[in-house]
Subunit: 485 residues, 2 copies
């Protein structure tokens, strides 16, 4: 009854290459199961005795017995003492329409919102930074032994808190430490109750886009603008209205009716411009008049190299119409996955509920460790030390650009942040340079794609994650490349 | 010019209680700034000399000087040598309409989708488990020193990978380890390329709800059903169609036209029923016929106490119409924040893009540590050991319920999972018992709210996170309470 063709199918399945390891008994079990689901072994058909199948396949009898036992446990076969194994009456042939199955594979049936999301493009952050990758800090100078010591302390003192679920709003110790930091260093008006801990500023942007605006509603944003923000807003199906930026930041005279405004006031991304006080006040006036929200993304404000960083808009506004986004990805390390929102009191409950439905809560252990790191003064010390390192690297890159690349690139040296925008000499093709540079180990982030239209060609060069000698070597290679192009 | 009233405002601000610490100079700075923003100190007004203000406030001159310097850096004041400090021309009074501001505080201007989300209610997982909290594992027996050793190894070998950004789809080592586990232990058909690492099964549910269905489209789900799933689907504005469950799991004869079906086939939540093979095949047939998706939530399938756990629907389906959700929150610990999706190949790119826009990626360090934990055989060993512990606790609870609580509760002992459903004797009020129990340190999860309508009263009692003696003590207290009610 167990025909030769069936045996050959099983043998073929056993010799087929696998993309992931599966035990031998399980492969036999699966091959038999597939024959049943395909209808080749219909309900009530009898299976060969384990000993005989083992011989035919050239495997041990125990292996076949294990496969049969598994099929039995799954309900695929019945075993009657004395009369062997039969395909169970529960089994029926699964219908497969090859044409339909093929169509399903080629064009997944995504929702319309899913298609919109896919069209807006995903995000891919820089993994292992090569010069001149932008948006990433230097992690090789992070005080990892100290961090690990604090983590061990936390695990010892609070093993259950660290391993079990933690509150969706974030652990209180960390919310307290962040509020104190924001009040002292960023001129914010923050209480621990207004802080919502998230995994990233990307999550904050996503929550703002969804909870503050409906599909089709107007959001004003900077032009040029941070791509992660634009994509999050586009994915939420908002109407995006770009507002031009100059050396004083976003041109507030051009603000128009809208539900929200996206701002990077400390160091505008990518231009590096700082929003003037006059424009900050104008933006707040606009928001109060329009009953609109200001989404203030303060992504790398810790790193300001000339005087004190400007205090945040949230503080000037008294936090009434401003939603403030902060992150530790730039000031500590991206793998930490801790960002946060400082919210008007009325938004805390809705945002926390939304976050809990989106992904529960953030891990407690990094939160508790970070709280201790801040409270112990280590955060302030690390930021101070990195500010010195980054200032030196910024100056080094500025000097390199002038001395080695001045014929091709014109830099705007920013007062803060982790990257420097440069315009490319007329006649050179931004995309061609990016591709050619990639092949020689240099990562360039193009500027033109960050503009709504007619963006000028150029690059946003990261200097924070690259030591001076690494930038030297890369600049020499890039200069040679640009001379060839 | 600096009138007495203004001085009193500053003094009042300095003596006001603060919810978060702010340095003294910053408090003076803020008080002065507020006077400017309120129009009490208009543009061009002169400020008192630092020495004089210091005397009036009873603080050191340095403190006032620091406040003035900060106001100057912010652009609020101009300082002219010989003639003192003046409010800058950039400053203008911020309009405040008290009525509108108040209205804004009371009723936040949320989007309609935000309101929908808020109405569906947030999720709050159990924090520090007391008996009989459900849905949480025993973390006190987790091999933390071993885990910490593996984590130190990872940090030593890959410091940059662990601290920098990591791929949105998840680190390859972990995707490989999970695919191998699913193939060997869950009868899945998985390759590492089909795995998407997330922070939780909640995130997986959220992504499925948004990417597979549009607002208003029909999703079939089990009745009763896991609240976290129902809320995620409701928040995505889907039309939810409950399908009754019996001892064979979801009644597939009642399946109707829809875009997707939510299933917990291993141990139906909360009934504990295992979906029969016949119904598994019927569900797959339905999905292929309807070109619908099966969302298979295999949340605690590692813990099955009678024979081998049933293999997953994804394996029977060949992964064609099935999206499989897994999590390490139950098998290891919730604070790990690692769940995953096993996807049909055509859904990998869209889901990864959506995830990257939602919150970037998961932390690399726990992923790399977990990959090593699985590859070293420690995951299998831990699950095996906990399966024994949980089986004992399940039996202990079943026996306790019979001997101590049999007059009030009738238990259905499940073949697997971390909790046991019990119906409450007629005439007792579920909600009243839950509230009274909470006051004596006992957490009860009500059953009736998990039903679409006319849910029977009862509780879902967790047994996994509670030692036998802890359950003994709680059962005695609960019995006394029930006799009183």
């Amino acid at each position: 009854l167990f025909r030769h063709a069936l045996l050959e199918s099983v043998k073929a399945a056993l010799s087929a290459p696998l993309s992931a390891p599966v035990p031998l008994y399980a492969r036999i079990q699966r091959a038999l199961r597939q024959l049943m689901l395909d209808g080749a072994l219909p309900a009530a058909a009898s299976l060969p005795a384990a000993r005989r199948l083992a011989q035919s396949l050239g495997v041990s009898r125990d292996t076949v017995e294990a496969a049969y036992a598994a099929l039995h446990a799954e309900g695929f076969i019945e075993r009657r003492i004395g009369s062997g194994s039969f395909v169970s009456a529960q089994v029926k042939r699964l219908k497969t329409d090859k044409r339909r199955a093929q169509a399903a594979t080629d064009a997944p049936r995504l929702s319309q919102r899913g298609q919109k999301l896919l069209a807006s493009g995903g995000l891919q952050d820089v993994l292992l930074p090569r010069p001149f990758a932008a948006g990433v800090p230097e992690t090789r100078l992070f005080p990892l032994p100290l961090w690990q010591r604090l983590q061990r302390q936390v695990l010892k003192e609070y093993p259950s808190r660290a391993l079990q679920h933690s509150p969706p709003q974030g652990v209180e110790e960390l919310r307290r430490a962040i509020a104190a930091y924001l009040n002292a260093e960023r001129g914010a008006q923050a209480t621990p109750e207004q802080i919502l801990i998230l995994t990233s500023s990307q999550q904050a942007l996503n929550l703002c886009a969804t909870l503050l605006l409906d599909a089709g509603e107007r959001l004003l944003l900077e032009d040029p603008v941070y791509a992660g923000a634009r994509k999050a807003f586009a994915a939420a199906a908002l109407e995006l209205v770009p507002i031009a930026v100059d050396e004083g930041g976003l041109q507030t005279a051009k603000l128009s009716a809208a539900r929200a405004l996206y701002l990077t006031p400390s160091h505008q991304y990518p231009s590096g411009a700082t929003l003037t006080l006059e424009r900050r006040l104008a933006a707040i006036d606009w928001a109060r008049r329009e009953q609109a929200w200001i989404i203030e993304d303060d992504y790398d404000s810790e790193f300001h190299y000339q005087g004190k960083p400007t205090p945040c808009v949230q503080g000037l506004d008294g936090g009434r119409r401003t939603v403030y986004i902060g992150t530790f990805s730039k000031s500590l390390f991206p793998g930490l996955r801790i960002g946060y929102l400082l919210l008007p009191p009325s938004l805390v409950a809705p945002m926390t509920a939304a976050r809990s439905l989106q992904d529960g809560h953030s891990a407690a252990l990094p939160q508790l460790t970070l709280a201790r790191f801040i409270e112990g003064g280590h955060f302030a010390a690390h930021v101070r030390s990195m500010r010195g390192v980054y200032a030196t690297r910024r100056d080094h890159l500025a000097q390199l650009l002038q001395s080695r690349l001045g014929d091709f690139l014109h830099a705007s040296v920013p007062a803060g942040g982790l990257q420097m925008p440069c315009t490319l000499r007329e006649g050179l093709d931004e995309q061609a340079v990016i591709s050619a540079a990639k092949r020689i180990g240099i990562d360039l982030q193009g500027l033109s794609s960050l503009y709504a239209e007619d963006g000028r060609s150029g690059f946003l060069l990261g200097f924070a994650a690259h030591a001076p000698q690494e930038m030297d070597a890369a600049a020499a290679r890039l200069a040679a490349l640009l001379r060839r192009v």
